[in-house]
């Protein structure tokens, strides 16, 4: 831990909400390179809303979202595009395009953003599918894949342009525990092997204990972060009793 921490994602005094309603106020956190960072909270605490603001889908009421030091909130035009290229997003349902095959889904960003030859694009797309263990399913349509495989294919698509950050929205939603554990080990492998930084929103305690380096806990009552630390530390030492209870539910 002596090397200087390079901050890749940061929220600075972020206040977000819909219309008149404020969901979270004055949120501050930093995520360092290579870290797996989890945003935790009960249903309705604003975790998914926070994620949508971090990836620039919604505009915050005030504050900054910094992606490798650049403010995504105020960026426009080519600068914004450059920031967007630095991260990939895994949506809850995978969001694969149903009309094209799995490998074409993975190739799509390459087709749109690069001038590589077809051979290079196929080689890259197939290598990403092999990284997530789906090389045998390349030509199948996404609808033929199981839920876990769709998530893996969506991860392959998200990392095809070599982003340094991956945002995951409820990666284990709708998956059985075994498939979910497989996805967790893929996340760990990508974080350790490729140095990808992960920011994930989840309420799946099992996957938090297995992959997350650090978590923040959101509380809808105070409209902000109430605890921050490693999952194991918070489980035993969080100041708020409900946070300890929340983190202990499945492990004791």
């Amino acid at each position: 831990m002596s090397a200087p921490r390079k901050i890749l994602v940061a929220a600075r005094d972020l206040t977000i909400g819909y219309g008149e309603r404020v969901v979270l106020e004055h949120v501050n956190f930093e995520v360092a390179r290579g870290e797996v960072f989890a945003i935790l909270g009960a249903s309705g605490s604003g975790k998914s809303t926070l994620l949508k603001h971090l990836i620039g889908l919604y505009q915050p009421k005030s504050g900054e979202v910094l992606i490798s030091g650049q403010n995504l909130v105020t960026a426009e035009g080519p600068e914004r595009l450059q920031i967007l290229r630095r991260f990939g997003v895994l949506y809850q349902g995978g969001a694969l395009f149903g009309s094209i095959s799995t490998v074409e889904n993975v190739r799509l960003p390459l087709d749109e953003f690069t001038d590589l030859s077809d051979e290079a694009k196929d080689l890259i797309a197939l290598s990403k599918l092999r990284l997530v263990g789906l090389e045998a399913a390349a030509t199948r349509p996404p609808a033929d894949l199981s839920g876990g495989m769709q998530k893996r294919a969506a991860i392959a698509r998200a990392i095809v342009l070599d982003p340094c950050i991956l945002f995951l929205d409820e990666p284990s939603a709708g998956l059985d525990p075994i498939t979910s554990a497989g996805l967790d080990s893929l996340i760990k492998e990508l974080a350790r092997g490729l140095g990808i930084t992960f920011v994930m929103v989840t309420h799946e305690l099992a996957s938090i204990y297995s992959v997350a380096d650090r978590v923040v806990v959101l509380d809808p009552k105070v409209r902000g972060i109430v605890a921050e630390g490693t999952p194991a530390y918070l489980r035993d030492h969080a100041t708020l009793p409900w946070v300890r209870k929340f983190l202990n539910r499945e492990t004791t």
Binding site: S99, L131, A138, D162
Partner: protein, 381 residues
């Protein structure tokens, strides 16, 4: 900065002989997605004439590299630029090594070999016939179920969800009045204009009013109203039911013991049958009103026009128009609902069933209209 100059690549390479007789291809600089394509072509050129017996790729001089660069290194390493000579890649960092290991020529070959299944003409015709046959059976079943549902509703009116019927009546009927008025008004006007000239040559211009009255009442009133119902509300029925099917709401109804046809379709069909005649009468008036300014402009007094329309029309004509409209209303509502219920899976499915609902509705309207024309002609003889 070299990035602005296409002639200067940020990556350079050098082919060095090794003591063991082979060659080392050493890279320096940045090899990323922005320049890989150009580097690829340049390397292909520079390696083309070389006689190489064995090759090693040294990537230790690369300050940055990404998947695109790795794809290039992999392509060279499997002999893509030096036929018959494969190469080892050394000097990649741990993370790049991890990415590089995922490249596979077997996967690539498998993808190239994979050809989309090509079906024969006979298979296609056979499959289309089976689909058509299944669709026909489904339609017959559907008509039966809807008829039973409507009959049930008539015998036990309390069980019918009248609130839903009135809602459909409002959205598909009342809200359609402006567009129906505008279109039929204009159609009436066009007919009056078009008919005025040829009839004037026969000195029979006054009969424009009779013609307008007959066509609007017997033909255009019901057909225009039904086509607008199909385009405006039929498509909405199909999209609504289709989305419910995609969201598994129809399955939820079924497991609750509620038949989707009873619960959703019957109300729409009843509303369609009730509202189309009303809409048709409205369309007839709007069409006549559209012809009126033309006739007045031709110099006929209002009383004369009204007299001509009245004398040209019989109660039978109105009955024909209205009975047509009842049939059309039933067709549009039920076919649109059927197409909605037939919705498949995926994001395209709802769009497809909406298109199919409009196409089938309009086709069946015209078909039924032709049948009506034949029947009424033989009745009049």
């Amino acid at each position: 900065m070299p990035a602005n100059d296409s002639n200067v690549l940020p990556v350079t390479w050098e082919l060095r002989p090794r003591p063991d007789g082979g060659m080392t291809l050493a890279f320096q600089g940045e090899l990323d997605v922005a320049f890989t394509s150009e580097a690829w072509k340049a390397l292909e050129k520079s390696l083309a004439g070389q006689k190489i017996s064995s090759l090693e790729i040294d990537a230790s001089g690369l300050s940055s590299c990404d998947s695109a660069g790795l794809a290039l290194l992999y392509h060279i390493s499997i002999g893509g630029m030096t036929p018959g000579v494969t190469a080892r890649v050394t000097g990649l960092g741990a993370e790049l090594e991890h990415l590089f290991r995922a490249f596979s020529k077997e996967d690539f070959a498998a993808l190239q070999d994979h050809e989309p299944a090509c079906s024969s003409l006979f298979e296609d015709v056979g499959a289309a016939t089976l689909v058509w046959w299944a669709d026909l059976r489904q339609q017959v079943e559907f008509i039966g179920e809807v008829t039973i549902g409507i009959a049930g509703g008539l015998f036990r009116p309390r069980r019918m969800r009248w609130k839903e019927v009135f809602r459909v009546f409002e959205t598909a009927g009342v809200n359609a009045l402006p567009i129906v008025s505008l279109l039929t008004f204009l159609v009436g006007m066009v007919i009056a204009f078009e008919a005025a000239q040829p009839l004037a040559q026969l000195g029979a211009q006054v009969f424009v009013a009779n013609l307008l009255g007959l066509t609007m009442t017997r033909e255009l009133g019901p057909v225009m109203a039904a086509i607008m119902l199909a385009g405006r509300s039929g498509s909405a029925f199909a999209a609504e039911l289709g989305t419910m099917k995609v969201n598994e709401e129809l399955n939820a109804l079924q497991t609750m013991g509620l038949a989707p046809i009873q619960f959703l379709v019957v109300q729409r069909v009843v509303a369609g049958i009730l509202l189309t005649p009303v809409l048709t009468i409205y369309a007839m008036y709007a069409g006549l009103l559209g012809g009126l300014p033309v006739l007045l402009g031709l110099g006929f007094p209002l009383r004369m026009v009204l007299y001509q329309v009245q004398s040209g029309l019989h109660l039978g004509d109105l009955a024909e128009g209205l009975s047509k409209s009842i049939v059309f209303g039933g067709i549009v509502a039920s076919v649109s609902c059927l197409r909605g219920l037939q919705t498949g899976e995926g994001p395209r499915a709802v769009g497809e069933s909406t298109t199919r609902s409009v196409v089938s509705s309009i086709m069946l309207i015209i078909l039924a209209d032709a049948l009506f024309a034949a029947i009424t002609y033989s009745l009049r003889k």
